[in-house]
Structures are given as structure tokens and as C-alpha cells.
Symmetry: C2
Subunit: 303 residues, 2 copies
């Protein structure tokens, strides 16, 4: 067994975020950062990404707090990927103010020998890059592969994305992405239509409304963990995916019952993430806090 059985490829970023609760520049962000930190509560994770020469040592140290392998975190000349976004009062959709790809433009993920993952997550990134990583892992040694995507790639690179989808076991998308990808407004139909593109398992994230799981013929629906205060929704989806994949990697079981549990774990991790800017809340998780919230969650959903 590899030291880092779970691998993620995605972005590591410096964000500027504005919410009704405050404004913060230089927030440590990126899909792979949130994913890794969240997943690391369940499984060691190998992070594949690129940063610029400006990437603060302080952020690298944040990742080092957890069992996150940084052998594949390349440093390139130039600036780190930067995203600037804003949330209006309803907190449901981010308004992207600026995106500076910077070093991401020339990113070529290359997996080193001896780091073959058992499970792989292709976080939201250009589907062509997702494919270059897919081409570097070997089935069935890599026993479970999942991916995320976003509206931009669905619209601009649908055919490249479809090739990726045909080769993964699971996809994690939000409701808007699911509708756009499937061209179905009804989310149940959308989930089924996405399964038909390849992945036997489809998870549709609905933010404050929870998530839907399509697993072969089986179906599971989960409300969201109720929060009175969503401080900053950035990274919720990536943390969710991290929790799901971390749990699936740890338990090595992708049957329906266990994926359900993974979805619940993902939802709980994401519910912590949104309680503060960036990774702050996850960094300050107390021992036992995840288990505690899992218990509360089950109690308020049970009937």
C-alpha cells in the first residue's frame, strides 16, 4: 500500500473573497487544497498541482499540518493561480470577479514512479489536463477514479470532458452543472443521464439543499446539515468531494451502502469548511468534532 493511497489533481490558489460577513485578500484556496485538507481526515493524500514562485511558505506549511504528500506540487516561474469572488446575501452562487490562471497555463501534471494511487480524484481543471493524468494511472491498480468539473468546461470543452467521463467511476457535480451537462432540468433525470455518459456513480451537490446519489440503479437523497451562518461557501464542494473520496479510500468499499456513508461524511466536512474563510475552520477542528456532527446529522435526518 502506497504511503498516499489517494491522489488529487487540481488547483492550488490564492483567493480574494468577499461575503456579507467580510472581505479577505490572500485566502489560501484552490480545488486541490480544499480537497486534500478535507480528505486528509480520512486518508493520506497526494496533491498534484502547480504553484508560482510567489507561493507563500506559510500556505505550504498549512498543507504540511496534515498527511498530504507534496512531491507532486510543482513550483513554476510566475504567479500562483488567483481567483477573486464575491457572494451576495443568498450565499448560493459565487460571482467571479477575476480569474488569473498564471502558472496554470503551462501546467503539465507528471506522476513520479512509485506514486501510483489506489484512488484518484480529478478536481475541477481543464478536461485535457484531467485526461493526461488519467493516461498516467494504471487500471486496475488504481481501483477507483472520480472527477469534478464546472460550467466553463461543460460549455467550452464538452467533447474532451465526455472522454474523461467515459473513463471514471464517479462524478461529483453541483445541480447547475448537472443540468447543463445532461440538458435535463429535472435533477433525477439529469443524474441518470450523466450515468449514461460513463460513471456508474453520480453525486449531485445542491448546496444548502443537500445532495443526491445515483449508484447503479440505486438512489439516495441527503438534506444539507443545517447551518444558521454560512460564513464563506468557497471550497464547500471541494471539501465535500475530499470527504467522500477520503472516506472511500479509507474504507476501500464502493458499494452503495458505503458510498452513502461517504456522502454523509463529505457533507459534514463541507459543513465545517463554510463556517470560516478558507481552510480556517478545518484547521481548527477539535478531536471528535467530526463524529459529533455526524451523530447530530443522523439524528435530525432520522424518521
Amino acid at each position: 500500500m502506497s504511503k498516499f493511497p489517494l491522489m488529487v489533481v487540481g488547483t492550488v490558489a490564492v483567493d480574494s473573497v468577499e461575503t456579507p460577513f467580510g472581505k479577505k485578500d490572500a485566502v489560501f484556496g484552490g480545488s486541490a487544497s480544499y480537497f486534500s485538507y478535507a480528505a486528509s481526515f480520512f486518508s493520506p493524500v497526494n496533491l498534484v498541482a502547480v504553484v508560482g514562485s510567489d507561493f507563500p511558505e506559510e500556505y505550504r506549511n498549512v498543507l504540511k499540518e496534515r498527511p498530504i504528500g507534496l512531491e507532486h506540487l510543482q513550483t513554476a516561474n510566475g504567479k500562483t493561480f488567483h481567483w477573486k469572488g464575491k457572494y451576495e446575501a443568498d450565499m448560493n452562487a459565487a460571482l467571479t470577479l477575476e480569474t488569473h490562471l498564471n502558472v496554470l497555463l503551462d501546467f503539465k501534471p507528471r506522476l513520479k514512479a512509485g506514486h501510483e494511487p489506489e484512488t484518484l480524484f480529478l478536481a475541477n481543471i481543464d478536461p485535457d489536463l484531467q485526461m493526461t493524468v488519467l493516461d498516467q494511472v494504471q487500471r486496475p491498480k488504481c481501483r477507483f477514479i472520480a472527477c469534478d468539473t464546472m460550467n466553463y468546461w461543460i460549455e467550452q470543452k464538452r467533447s474532451a470532458l465526455k472522454k474523461v467521463l467515459a473513463r471514471v467511476d464517479m462524478v461529483v457535480v453541483n445541480d447547475g452543472e448537472a443540468r447543463l451537462l445532461s440538458e435535463e432540468l429535472n435533477l433525477i433525470k439529469a443524474g441518470r443521464a450523466i450515468q449514461a455518459l460513463g460513471p456508474g456513480i453520480v453525486i449531485v451537490k445542491k448546496g444548502e439543499h443537500g445532495a443526491l446519489l445515483f449508484h447503479g440503479e440505486k438512489f439516495f437523497t441527503l438534506p444539507a446539515y443545517p447551518l444558521e451562518e454560512v460564513f464563506d461557501p468557497t471550497g464547500a464542494g471541494d471539501s465535500f468531494a475530499g470527504g467522500v473520496m477520503g472516506y472511500l479510500t479509507k474504507t476501500a468499499d464502493t458499494g452503495f451502502e458505503n458510498v452513502k456513508k461517504a456522502v454523509v461524511h463529505g457533507a459534514v466536512i463541507a459543513s465545517f469548511t463554510v463556517e470560516h474563510f478558507g481552510l480556517e475552520r478545518l484547521r481548527n477542528l477539535r478531536e471528535g468534532e467530526i463524529e459529533e456532527r455526524l451523530g447530530q446529522f443522523q439524528r435530525i435526518c432520522m424518521f
Copy 2:
């Protein structure tokens, strides 16, 4: 025990409905019609409403299919309340094209002696009318009272509505109404704020996303029963409330655990309603179909 322990006051209407699946004029509708028919699967119900002299005997016969008391269904000179609405592709919000109050304008609900209800539901109707009914029932003989409302009354008759809310045990509103009434965007805060207006129990309906239950300090969250085809959402909220109140009346227990069960029953009844125009689907429920769907619902929510 009265022959009709549950009473509802609301509207009986003739609707014109357009959905992406079709268009139908002269659909039997109205808040009290949907409520009564849905509730009648659990408890006999006394319907308090007014219709015009044009009200088709055929519709009256629909109500007679079930244990629905019509002693308080007044017939007034004039035309029956008419609503014309349309649903766009996303099926979440009705676009009201026309509203003709007609005989509703002079409606004065008067409860006959010997018909004191054990439980009462004030369906969506002018809060002043809700209050005249409240004034005619006696506590604690009427042991449980709940109400619904809509954006129009929240905006136009907030103070009358607040007086009603201060006197009921439970309120059932949708997410938009909850936000408007509480002036809170976060639905958990909104539910708590509405409790502070009087009703110890608040149910927030979220359509395709399920429902939230606030019961004293306790909380329950339920996803929606997944439907691939929502044919006509009209009456979903009223059927839901009917299922909830019917179940609570039948079981005579308004503790948290039982209200949770009532919410699940309401959701199941509403999931049938939207499968066809008007009351068509509820009229064609097979023996055992409710129990069957309750079982399926529990299976897809359980973790």
C-alpha cells in the same frame, strides 16, 4: 368525537393550468380542495369554503368520494373563485396569469353548532377570514390549530397575519414565504424567527428540495421524494399540509417524533398530487400505494 375531527377553511376553485406537459382549463382546484382530499386518507375532514352557483356538480361529487364533510361548503350567487397559472420548465414557481376572486369577495365563514373541530387548518386565505374562523373555535376543545399563508398577505396584511400567527400552534409556509415573513435569508434562522411570532411548530416547504421542521428547540430535515416527472405542481403545498394535518388528527399526538412522521406522510401525499393535473392522481391512488411509497422514501433517505 365529531364525525369530522379535522376542519379546513380555504378556497375551492376552478383553475386553468399550463405546464410544459400540457394545458388544461377547468381543473378542480383551490387550497381547501387539495387539503381535504389529501387529509381524507388519514382523517375525515370538514371543508369550510364558498363556491359560486356555477360550481359543477361533478366537482362536488369528487369531494364526496372521500370522507369530506360539505355542510360548510356555502354556495353563493356568482362565479366560483378562478385561478389561471402557468409553470415554466423548471416547475418551481407558478406564474399567476389571472385571479378572479368572485364569490370569495363576500365570503363569511360561519361554523354551525355541533361541528366544533378537534383540529383546524387555516389554509391560504385572507388573514382576516382566518381570524373570523379562529374566533369561532374554542380552545382547548380545538386542540391543535395550524395555518398557511402566501406572499400577498405577508406583504399586504402583515399585521393581521401576525395576529393569526400568535394564536396558532403550527404554520406551514414555503421557503420564499418564510424568508419574506422573517426577513431572514437563511432558512434555519427564518424558521426560528417565525417560531418567535407564536407557532411553536414551523414547517418550511422547499418543493423539490424537501422540507424543514422546527419543533420547539428540535429540528428535522427531509429531502423531497424524488420524481422524474413533475406533471403539475399545483396543489402540492396544500396536499402536503393536508397529509400532515390528517396524520396529526388521526394520531392525536403533536410531539416532535410524531410531527416528523406527519411531515413524511405529507411529503408522500404531495408527491402523488404533482404526478397529474388537479386531484387526478390522488383520485386514482391504489390501495397500499401510500404505504408503499412511504417505505421507498424511508429506504432512499436512510443512512
